[in-house]
């Protein structure tokens, strides 16, 4: 059983469209991170959210941590082809190791 679930599993959109991907769990996390991974490379950290209800913006990316610290969303505005990749969420378990979700594979078409 996955501790973290991500949806959708796959997403293919046209350049310029907006999208939201989700990360859900029944567990409470001390923090939640989002990573992007490109083929043949390791994941690269995008953001860490630590407070329930927190919203962080990184250019066209908006990250939100749920009030109960069990879920998170990533919203991309005006997607670009360079946004293509595997988006992973990872939950921090109170100073222990990070648990990763299975990822959302995003394809942005020109």
């Amino acid at each position: 059983t996955q501790l973290l679930e991500q949806s959708p599993q796959f997403l293919s959109i046209q350049e310029g469209e907006n999208l939201t991907v989700y990360c859900n769990s029944s567990s409470v996390f001390s923090s939640l991170q989002w990573y992007r991974q490109e083929p043949g490379e390791g994941p690269v950290l995008l953001v860490t959210v630590v407070t329930g209800g927190e919203v962080k913006k990184l250019k066209r990316l908006t990250f939100q941590f749920g009030d109960a610290r069990k879920d998170s969303s990533l919203h991309i505005t005006a997607a670009q082809t360079g946004d293509t990749g595997l988006y992973l969420c990872a939950g921090g378990l109170y100073g222990q190791n990070f648990v990763f979700g299975p990822g959302t594979r995003l394809s942005v078409l020109p």
Binding site: G42, P43, T48, Q96, F98, P102, R105
Partner: protein, 116 residues
């Protein structure tokens, strides 16, 4: 180096062979993690070191998997008597170990292991 370095980049092994995968973390990083990533999946935790101490090895799938970090920097993940289900990308990550909720993991590019 500037980032986490892993070698080899690719490894092909015959079933039953032993393999050793190397990770050079970012200089000064006290924490080191190993993850296994199957095709199309997210990384699965294997083991964690703080300096030379292996604090958590709960994710190692069997006693064929062994990791060490004898001097608190370079780490080696060894897999004995490889099996086809061991085929995956093995990712290493390091962090400065400041810990808590803002731990930042820096990943290497991984070693892609194929067991034939």
């Amino acid at each position: 180096g500037a980032g986490v370095s892993q070698s080899p980049r690719y490894k092909v092994a015959k079933r039953g062979q032993d393999v050793a995968l190397r990770c050079d973390p970012i200089s000064g990083h006290v924490s080191l993690f190993w993850y296994q990533q199957a095709l199309g999946q997210g990384p699965e935790f294997l083991t964690y070191f703080q300096n030379e101490a292996q604090l958590d090895k709960s994710g190692l799938p069997s006693d064929r998997f062994f990791a060490e970090r004898p001097e608190g920097s370079v780490s080696t993940l060894k897999i004995q008597r490889t099996q086809q289900e061991d085929s995956a990308v093995y990712l290493c990550a390091s962090s400065d170990g400041q810990g808590g909720t803002n731990e930042k993991l820096f990943f290497g590019s991984g070693t892609q292991l194929s067991v034939l």
